[in-house]
């Protein structure tokens, strides 16, 4: 075929976008496009024209397993391997509250009281303490620094790597809502709005997610820690 003919180029470009080129012609055409930027532009114009048809197609959230599968496949391609501990995988999401969390919270409050050297309510006011599977406190949420804000930070450094992040969730009536990403070190403070907190008695949880956070708006990785909201600051 003579690919210099403008009409032929136009027709092949349109058919490439329509999807009607037979598989073998399509592969040949794709090779041509890489060598011929002008041809690629003709294709782009057709793609742009017909893409309007896609506007009528409803978006639909894919299940979280699609992203997990993509992540697993690209991990084999040079990216550092995922260290996600397998024992967490089987833990059901926030089924009940780890009893240890309450005990840990009590312990931490005593610690803070001792630290500030004053009896009574500790300063700053503890909003929640999140404990891991074994009941050890791992994150703490305190009121402030300003009115209407809550600061969340790690009590101890968390196992971190470049391929994951820690995401905070508020769980009301079993439904998780994303509250933001958390830094893994004790010095990292994430500030969230107090108004977004679940009411006292409901849960905060931290899950392991892709670096940019859960792509779905729901937790996709294992829940590492959780704790009850004890007070909601004004």
């Amino acid at each position: 075929m003579r690919y210099e003919d403008p009409e032929l180029r136009e027709r092949l470009a349109a058919e490439y976008v329509l999807g009607t080129l037979p598989s073998r012609s399509r592969r040949r055409f794709e090779r041509l496009m890489t060598e011929d930027p002008a041809l690629a532009r003709v294709v782009a114009v057709w793609a742009d024209r017909l893409a309007l048809i896609d506007a009528a197609t409803a978006a639909e959230d894919p299940p979280a397993r699609v992203w997990r599968a993509v992540e697993a496949r690209i991990a084999a391609d040079g990216a550092p391997p995922a260290p996600a501990p397998s024992r967490f995988r089987s833990v059901p999401f926030w089924r009940g509250l780890a009893l240890g969390a309450t005990a840990a919270a009590a312990g931490l409050i005593i610690y803070l009281t001792a630290f500030t050297g004053r009896p009574g309510p500790p300063t700053p006011a503890v909003v929640a303490v999140l404990a891991d599977q074994s009941g050890d406190p791992s994150w703490i949420a305190v009121a402030g620094p300003r009115r209407g804000e809550v600061s969340v930070s790690a009590v101890r450094p968390q196992d971190e790597d470049a391929r994951h992040s820690f995401e905070l969730w508020g769980i009301v009536g079993g439904t998780p809502r994303p509250l933001g990403l958390l830094g893994p070190r004790s010095g990292n403070v994430s500030i969230i709005r107090a108004a977004e907190l679940p009411p006292p008695g409901d849960l905060l949880a931290v899950s392991l997610e892709p670096p940019a956070g859960s792509p779905t708006g729901l937790p996709t990785g294992p829940v590492l820690s959780r704790g009850k909201v004890m007070l909601k600051p004004p």
Partner: protein, 193 residues
Amino acid sequence: MNIVKRLGLEERSASGSLLQLQQLIHRTSRRDAAAFAMLYAQTAPKLFGIALRIIGHREEAEEILQEAFVAVWERSADYDAAKGSAMVWLTSIVRHCAIDHVRRRAVRPESRSAPEEVLLGLAAAGSTDQGAELGALQRCLGELDEQPRRAVLLAYLYGFTREEIAADFAVPLGTVKTWIRRSVERLKRCLDP
């Protein structure tokens, strides 16, 4: 023309800052997993909708979406913003993965909307700022004869091959080739200013 805006996709990160899809693809080509995750978060729902439309089967569409995003990861260095919008590039990868899949499969699911219904849905789906372009596309498709128009839409919406279209209309393959060739010429004349 901003196809992303026209498709109703917001190029916003979770923190509200504006991030261009093309920037995310560029960072993906440098093996930036965070950028790739953000790219997925922003585009996967629309692309999953498109894969579902062509394939008509949920689990299979999930597999194809997965395959397409692995291809995006591998081919992100090939993307050139000068040759078209990022969303159209991503859509093209998903479309061709889906089309290959339905060609490998012997039978097609029967449940799908008639192309005309989908075309009518265009008007409803389009936001006001894309109204003029949508209107033009609808008008130009409307100017095609009924059977060639259906052929074009069956190909684009559901990945029908020329052979499948011929079987669907009980016409010779040569007729379908002629329909598509003429439709393409007429659409170009009609859409080009």
